[in-house]
């Protein structure tokens, strides 16, 4: 496989995953906003910007921080390189240049999602926004479905690798935002707003039921953190994403007969995650631990690029 093709496939995986995550984030934020009285609802939108790493750039647009402006910025803005529109643009552009490596179904799924957003200028109110992001999630699910029907060859592995790398990054950012999310004055830790915030995080990764199934206790922040970091049963957890990264790299190594630094780093990370407990993580400081995880994820990302000669 051409190195350029592998690079594009990897980025298709990342961008589609990022688009889907942003859609989930908006859905959950609308929910949190609706559930809580202001100013907590406003806080939900501010934290959405933080999770999407778009807080600083949004500030540059000079727009007021209204729910409408923020959801438009995260969904449709062409000037936000991580908006759903920009992600789908980039995914499609990559897909177009490597069409021969994709199945027809997979290409059509990306193209359809892109066509859907192409004519949209405004998200409208929260009802319209909800139906918009639901539609996008349906399209990205369609892409995942098409992906699973693809040949299990390198193309499949590179897309999967990109998606797993992106998912690890997104989930880590999502947990970390709770660190930034300040409770309004007078609210106590474990109070209703605190609990709503944790529930929203679970909603974002569709893990509310999973939580109930795995833990018989009520909602406990440290258990939510454990679920999202260390439970292999949850596909979006850090440990599950790390395992997927190792798996895709193994599959590529098997087909090409080559392994390298990326394989080594990915295995080391996965082993470490398997041996860690949530107590250790809290002992180290959740925020510090997550920051280190995101840093390590970037290091693996760079070594993947080197190993397969992406540039």
């Amino acid at each position: 496989m051409l190195s350029r093709t592998a690079n594009s496939l990897y980025w298709i995986g990342r961008y589609v995953e990022r688009a889907e995550f942003t859609a989930r984030l908006i859905e959950a934020t609308i929910r949190l906003d609706a559930l809580s009285a202001r100013p907590a609802g406003q806080g939900a939108w501010d934290s959405a910007l933080l999770v999407a790493a778009a807080d600083y750039d949004f500030g540059l647009t000079g727009e007021t921080r209204s729910p409408l402006a923020i959801s438009r910025y995260l969904t449709l803005s062409a000037s936000n390189p991580n908006s759903i529109r920009s992600c789908l643009d980039a995914a499609r552009s990559n897909a177009k240049s490597v069409r021969t490596a994709l199945s027809r179904d997979a290409w059509e799924a990306i193209n359809r999602a892109w066509l859907f957003l192409r004519g949209r200028a405004s998200t409208g109110g929260s009802q319209t926004t909800l139906s918009l992001v639901e539609h996008i999630r349906a399209e990205t699910r369609g892409f995942e479905g098409a992906l699973h029907r693809m040949l299990r060859n390198e193309a499949y592995s590179f897309i999967g690798l990109g998606a797993a790398m992106e998912r690890a990054d997104n989930t880590a950012r999502l947990i970390d935002v709770k660190y930034h999310l300040l409770l309004p004055e007078g609210e106590r830790v474990g109070g209703p707003i605190d609990r709503d915030q944790w529930t929203t995080i679970l909603h974002t990764v569709s893990a509310v039921t999973a939580y109930r199934w795995l833990y018989s206790e009520g909602l406990k922040p440290w258990l939510v953190a454990e679920l999202l970091c260390l439970k292999p049963e949850l596909p979006r957890s850090l440990v599950a994403s790390s395992e997927e990264v190792v798996g895709h790299l193994n599959a590529i190594g098997k087909r090409t007969g080559l392994q390298g630094e990326a394989d080594r780093l990915a295995r080391v990370r996965h082993n470490a995650l398997e041996r860690t407990s949530i107590d250790t993580i809290f002992g180290q400081g959740l925020h510090e631990w997550l920051t280190a995880f995101i840093y390590e994820n970037t290091r693996i990302h760079l070594s993947i690029g080197q190993q397969f000669r992406f540039s």
Partner: protein
């Protein structure tokens, strides 16, 4: 002017009650299918094309960076007899084109024999002196030719233009057929149509056959594209995909020791055959345009060293140049020993004083073309042009006569076409695709029919409002099955 008297390929000549009895069933089908039903199917086809991303880009149009070529659902049909005689003429012409190229880049006998004026070749920008002495693997220069034909009567076919560089459009031939099979299956029950879906296999066989390696099997073939911003990118990816070969960009290739390699995740792999869809000018910055970023430095040296086959070979533009076109009957006769089976359209070479005078005297009757123009740009269609346009060309002709040729306006044939006012005749042309490999010449039984959608218009180019149709070749002349 061409509209009223034109020969219709399905209905025959206007006023001729006999018409074309072999197509009676097709007429029945056209007349019995309600307009709304045609409309529905046509929209379904266009929606499918858009979803597949079968688009092309029109340069200079930012707004609609990606458009689909309008598809017309009423097909064009050739009988087996018509196709057989066309094929003969096409084989003869393409064999002559390859013999001509081997001669021009070799011994130049045809110049010594004064069949073609020497300065017309040697001073032509399409002639690449640095390629003199080139011996492409298996002696083939123009592996893929698209010959543009027009028709004026039942047996009157004319070659309008040869395309010996990188002719495009074959993906439309294949996708149009797919659409027709899905949307009008009843047509294929009525008529015994020769399938075209082996084209990618035939193309791959042609590519493998010209591999410079002794062993044909296992030759590494790639398709070199300028990238996905190119207007024909869909076709590049479609063909690479259908053949199962890598679609590469210049950055994926490197030349080392006069051999071409591609960069893969497992290291570099030597490439034997490159189906390149990049113009000569951009192919190799060391030989042609030095500022080209689309090209591969050293690729021409690898070709000259015989280590890689370039499909088509560089320098083939000298065979389809419009100034050379007018000599094609002589060229075909010179190499084949017989008269050209497919005639040229009568052509006035404005570089010759008498032809220039005739052209200037008859501008409003003639079609005037730039020798090096393409895509319907730089062209005057006298009968439909405004006074100002005619005067503009008059000035240009007097200033640089050698850059122009002129041809009479032909009464191009028409084919019934779905229009806003129901089914109506529209002018068409036809581009069959001819493959030349180490084992000879093959032609897929089909081609690209382009149709001028505007009433009376003769310009079929997609960049100028043209559309496409499926072109059916019948397996026998019995009038169909049953």
């Amino acid at each position: 002017m061409a509209g009223a008297a034109a020969f219709d390929e399905i209905r025959g000549r206007p006023g001729d009650p006999g018409g074309r009895p072999e197509f009676a069933q097709l007429l029945d089908w056209m007349e019995s299918t309600p307009a709304t039903e045609f409309d529905r199917r046509q929209k379904a086809a266009e929606a499918a094309f858009r979803q597949l991303g079968i688009t092309f880009a029109v340069y200079g149009e930012e707004e609609s960076a990606e458009r689909i070529i309008p598809f017309d659902i009423v097909p064009r049909v050739f009988t087996a007899r018509e196709w057989a005689s066309l094929s003969e003429g096409l084989v003869q012409r393409v064999e002559a084109i390859n013999a001509f190229l081997a001669d021009i880049y070799g011994p130049r006998r045809i110049l010594a024999d004064k069949i073609v004026p020497e300065e017309l070749i040697l001073a032509n920008p399409q002639f690449r002196p640095m390629l003199a002495g080139a011996k492409p693997p298996h002696g083939v220069f123009a592996h893929i030719c698209g010959i543009d034909l027009v028709r004026t009567g039942p047996d009157d076919f004319w070659v309008l233009e040869d395309n010996a560089r990188t002719p495009s459009g074959v993906s439309y031939m294949l996708e149009n057929r797919e659409a027709m099979l899905r949307l009008c299956p009843e047509l294929f029950e009525k008529f015994n149509v020769v399938p075209i879906d082996s084209y990618p296999d035939m193309l791959l066989e042609t590519l493998q056959s010209v591999s410079p390696r002794r062993q044909r099997a296992g030759a590494t073939c790639v398709l070199l594209t300028p990238g996905h911003f190119n207007s024909a990118f869909y076709e590049h990816s479609f063909l690479a995909d259908s053949m199962g070969i890598e679609l590469v960009e210049a950055a994926d290739l490197e030349v080392d020791d006069d051999k071409v390699w591609m960069r893969t995740i497992e290291g570099r792999v030597q490439v034997d055959v490159i189906y390149r869809r990049i113009d000569d000018d951009y192919l190799d910055p060391l030989v042609f345009k030095p500022d080209s970023l689309l090209g591969v430095p050293g690729i021409v040296a690898a070709y000259m060293a015989g280590n890689v086959a370039l499909v088509n070979a560089p320098g083939t533009g000298i065979a389809d140049d419009k100034a050379i076109y007018s000599y094609m009957p002589e060229i075909v006769k010179y190499y084949s020993g017989g008269e050209a089976k497919l005639p040229n359209v009568e052509t006035y070479r404005c570089r010759e004083a008498s032809a220039l005078q005739y052209t200037l005297d008859n501008l409003e009757k003639l079609v005037v073309k730039l020798v090096d123009g393409s895509g319907g740009y730089g062209m005057l269609v006298g009968p439909t042009a405004t006074k100002a346009q005619v005067e503009e060309f008059r000035t240009a002709l007097i200033a640089e006569p050698h850059r122009y040729i002129a041809q009479p306006t032909l009464a191009l044939s028409t084919v019934p076409t779905l229009t806003e006012a129901g089914v109506a005749p529209r002018h068409v042309d036809f581009r069959p695709f001819v493959l030349s490999g180490a084992d000879g010449v093959t032609i897929t039984p089909g081609g690209l029919t382009r149709v001028a959608l505007r009433e009376g218009s003769l310009v079929v180019n997609s960049s100028q409002g043209g559309g496409t149709k499926d072109s059916l070749i019948l397996a026998d002349d019995a009038g169909g099955r049953r």
